[in-house]
Every structure is written in structure tokens, then in C-alpha cells.
Amino acid sequence: MNVHDLKSARPQPLPPKPRNPMPVWVAATLAMLWLIVWDLEISFETLAYGVADMAEYFSRYGQPDFTDLSRYLSLMGVTLATALWGTVFALLVAFFLAPLAARNFAPNAVTYRIAREILNFMRAMPDLLLALIFVAALGLGPLPGALALGVHTAGFLGKFFAESLERVDKGVCEGVASTGANFPQMVMYAGWPSIMREALGYVLYILDRNVRMASVLGLVGAGGIGLALHDTLRLFDYGQSAALILVILATILMIDYASAWLRGRLG
């Protein structure tokens, strides 16, 4: 190939320069956010004053008042127990519903759809709304709280389990199916043993979440430490509020570390 050849070669038209849509997206997002701020009537003036006041406001929480500590701890105990019962309830429901909601285990398409819809419905109902309903039906106390947590998180747990079950190796399913296993046997020997580790991880996550939620369920009369916090905040009793927040914080951090440790051992 000499210089002459190169010169005679027709220059290829360049491919069109890719258009970068990024600025448009950013501008649209900012415009939408500005609209929202305007519609919610959030004034930055208030916020600025609020921030200035907030330092002073938070300093009021400076002296936690631990005189009632034993009562707080027992309330926290109730909260933890509520979370535990809620999680176990969710686990039971999810244990039976998840195989039905997994495409590869469900006996037929109709049960699959129904199970999915039940799980969706349970997930869509906020747990505080459920707690309100159960409190109306069962009366005050931790039991309606545990039920509400259970129903709501059964939806989550069932969905997580079903998704894990759908990822079970096809070979494992075929192997068990070839022995003539029926639906419960398939689930018990091909399904759960394969996803045991993941499933435990999910249960720990849900337990973690339920402890957080249980500590606010008291707001609607479902027992636990939330009601005490609500009352002290309403009475502007900052010392006791600070103590309550610290108790909740310490418990949640402890559970957080414990579940991280357990998950590390499982993984």
C-alpha cells in the first residue's frame, strides 16, 4: 500500500456524535424538585431559622434523665418481645406461602398468582395502619403490635423467600423430582435446604427491621417504648426523652452488631 492508494481511499463518514442527554435530565430533575419545594411550601427562611434554633434545641437533650431507667428497660423488653413474636409469625406465614409463590415450585399457575397477590397485599399495607386496625379489634397492648408486624413483614419475607427459591439450581430440583417427590417433599428436600443460608440472612434482616418498627408502634397504642417517648416529647420533658432515645439507640445498635456478626458467620 503506497501513499497514492491511501489518498484515493474515500474517507468514511464519521458516525454521528452520541448525544449526551445528561444536562436535560439534570435540568428536568431540578425543575421538578423546585416545583415540589414550591408546592410543599417549604420556605428556606424557616429552615435557616430552624437550623439556627436547632443547635439550641438539641442542647436541651444534653442531660439525659436516667432516674426511670428500670421502667425504660422493661418497656424496651416488651418492644423486643413484640418484634420477636412478629418475626416468628411472619416466618410461619412465609414458610407456607413462599413455595406457592415461587414459579418453579408452585403446583400450578393459579396458586402462584394467588400467593403472589396475597404477599403483595400484605406488603402494601403499612404496619402502623394494620396496628391501628388490630388495636381497634383486640384492644390495647403488645399483641396487636406483634400481629401487625407479622402480617406486614410476612409479605416481605415471603417475597424474599420466593425469589431465593426461584434461584434454586435446576439440577437439584430435577434430582429430587426424579425420585417421584410430591410438592411438599420437593419443597422440603430441594427448596429449603438449598436456600437455608440466604433465608436465615433475610430473617435476621426482618428481625432487625421489626425491632426498629416495634419501638414506634407504641404511638398507636400497641405497647412498648414508643408510647413513653411520645408522651415525654409531648410534655417537653427533654431529659427523659433523651434517656429513652439513648435506650432505643443502644438496643438497636446492639442488635445491628449481633446480626452483622451472625450474618458474617453464616456467609
Binding site: 424538585l33 413474636w85 395502619l129 379489634a137 404511638l219 439507640l249 445491628d256
Partner: protein, 271 residues
Amino acid sequence: MTTALIWRWPTPNGLPPLPLVGGVLALLAGLWLTAPIVEVDFVRLIGSLGRMVTFAGQMFVTPDWEYVPQLLAKMLETIEMTVLGTAVAIVVSLPLGILAAGNATPHPVVYRVTRDLLSLMRALPELVWALVFVSAVGLGPLPGVMALAFVTVGFMGKFFAESIEVVDHKAVEGVRAHGAGWLQVRLFAMLPQALPDFVGTVMYILDHNLRAAAILGLVGAGGIGYDLVMSMRLFQYDRLLLIALSIYLVVTVLDRASDRLRSRIIHGRRT
């Protein structure tokens, strides 16, 4: 498998594995011990079934159509709070996520401090922060947005950090070999690789925040929650039905949309 615990059921010796049996026994003991605290009473539970059915029956009344415009306005407010809180959280948690990722952090001490800060932020639920912020800046959507953003930064920063930690090191080395600076390596090698994960995280958080925003009104922090509690307390079942239905509808739509988007991102969409 010698060091790891044996979890699978059909074990070589045919007996259930010891950790599983131990775990179940411990769980049962825990349940039995805590039953009196939670006041689990199956007689009461069954006895209340009747009231539950009555209650459910009361829900089925003619909806209060007059209320629909207000409901839509409140629902819009809830969605706006969700979007705004999430947007603020994204902006704050991106830098925090970089600081809290083991491979992107400038210094191990910064890493530890940021991690602990994030876990403190996500420790308390939104409602507690909403209570505190309502006391600080007054009623309205502002404390709700603040509470949502505050807690979500804790979650999102952690998730962002985790997805930055698993990026492929080869791209990082390649960019660094071109003489890219500290920030350039993070911007052009790490973030683009973590972007699909980020989108999934944001969808998950959006979903979570919508559920949370729907109940924040309970403490006066804006959104549909206030109407929800009020209609409950005043036994306005004709409104309650509409509110519950609208929450269900919005949450389900977002749930489906985020599911679809996430699976499209995870399974790739090469055209």
C-alpha cells in the same frame, strides 16, 4: 466445608443438623419466655375474630366521594415528600458512600468514622426523628422530609459504599495508569461501575420512603398519615376505605415499577 457449619438437611448421618435443632429449640424457649410479656392469649385472639369481622364489615360502606379531592392533594403531598427526601438523601449520601467504602476512602480512620455515623443515622426509625423535628421546626411537610432524608442517608450511604467496594479493580488500575487523580479515579472508574447498583438502591429506598411517608402524618409531619389517623379515631370508615385503598394502590404501582426496573438493570438490557 470442614470449618463452616453444616446447615443442609439430608446430612450424611440422616439426623437433623445440630445448629438447626439448637436454633429452633432456642427460638421456642425465647417465644415461651416472652409469651406473657406480649400477652399472647389464644382464647382472646379467637374471641376477637368476631370483632375483626365486624370491623372489616364496617369498612365496606359507600365511600365518601366528597373527600376525593382532599385525598388526592394529600396523596400528592405524600409522594412529593418521598421524592424530595430521597433526592436530598442521594446528594448527601454519594460523598458519604465514597468515604465509607473500604477501597475509595482517603484514610482508614475516615472510613471507620463515616461507617459509625451512617449506622447511627439509620438506627432510629423515621417516626422518632419526625417527632423530634416536629418539635424543632413545627408542623408540616418540612420535618417529614427532614426525617426521611436523615434516616435514608444512613441506609443509602451504606448501600452505596457496599456497591463501590465490589467494583472491578482492573478498571481502577487502568484509569490510574493514565495518571488520573484521586477524585478522577473515583468519578471515572468506580462510580460508573457501581451505577446499576445505585439505581437499584435508589428504587428500593424510594419504595421504603413512600411507605414511611404514608405514616409520618401520624405525628404531624405532613402527608396522608394525619387523615388516616383522624378518620380512624373519628370512625369515618367511608374515608378510611378510600385512604387505605389509595395507599395500597400507590405502593403497589411503585413496587411493580421498581421490580421491573431492577430486573431490567440486573439482567442487562443490551440493545
